[in-house]
Amino acid sequence: MKPIEIAFTLNGKPRSAEVRPRVLLSDFLRHQMGLPGTHVGCEHGVCGSCTILLDGRSARSCLTFAVQIDGSEVETVESLGTASALHPIQKAFQEEHGLQCGFCTPGMLMVARELLEHHDTPSEEEVREAIAGNLCRCTGYQNIVAAILSAAAKLRAEKETTV
């Protein structure tokens, strides 16, 4: 099981690394790439807290081997914003109280980002379907839905002002 060299884009920056085949992408991001924002809750693909964007589409990083991202683009929650410059989706989550312990939050943010990149006016049903694969034990989902709908409005407004 020799290490394999991979080259990929991570949060917009070109990176390369050596990785053994069985290392999960979740562990690779958290411990080798220094990005602990992606969380691990189950390692069998159900809880969704490990969700990242792979080539623009949401994916479970616990069900992906790091070797598979060679030649791909990976985006994690760290690509969104910072504490002093929150992304509109993050801002909406704070305003709508869409998080409590914060453990499921990075996964929720990434599926929200994917949804809003493809639907600028999602219905509540569509939002619930988009987050249905992300488990939250704290919030009961209501405020997460409100946050994503609010984020959609923010992004629409942003688009209008930049047009």
Partner: protein, 291 residues
Amino acid sequence: MKPAPFDYTRAASVEAAIALLASAGGEARVLAGGQSLVPMMNLRIAQPRHLVDVNRIPGHDYVRREGDELVIGFLARHEHIRSSPLVLEACPLMAAAYDFVAHGPVRNRGTLCGNLCHADPASEMPAVMLATHAEMEVQGPAGSRRVPAGEFFVGLFETALRSDELLVSVRIPVAPKRQGWGFHEVSTRKGDFAFVCVAALLQVESDRVVAASISAAGIGARAVRLLGLEQSLAGQPPNEATFRQAAEDASATVPFHDDALVPGEYRRELLSVLARRALLDAAARALSSDL
């Protein structure tokens, strides 16, 4: 829960993938979407010595129409198929069943062909393949062969695929114009594997059922065609009374899978109820398409 060690090769072509599978003597597994395989590997239920990554083989993610067949390549992801207008038109049963399959992130990576090879007894797509009389196009060292869906699903997580073969595509007959479809499922939560699901296709002429294809998953070790039910409907009026009786009779004779989580009696009842509901929907669609 970390997987056991394995050797990894990225195959550049179908032939290369098959050669790798053949040389591994049954110790290799294909890595496509990984949404079924990798959880098993993380739980160490599956410990393949070699993984053959087929994700970068170009030209096999197609969803296309070839004459009167809908053909889906082995790298077509669930989400792509689910949102394809071609699928909605050519196989509305499949489009509807996709509503019950997993969640976005899993559908983004998972492939239809991978799901079929995994052959989970409660998975929806095997039932859809059976109902639509789909054919699996399998390629191995000796060449290609076609396996009808009815012969593909052999047992619990077991298919007719040999360890040195790759499922290259699925060919689904395009739904005839006046065929109605119905799909019903009960699961714990939306997106979970089914307790039971039923897929029904019906053709009606002069207020009589002239063709029926009905399958179910979740009732045993594998998805099955309900041949007895199909036969009992031939020539019958497509109404509630017919379907209720036929579905009840059919479910009385099927052997049921009893486990700690779900009693067999409940599956039996679900089969009867869901078959009836699926048939009613299929009949309504068949009749409305007549107009």
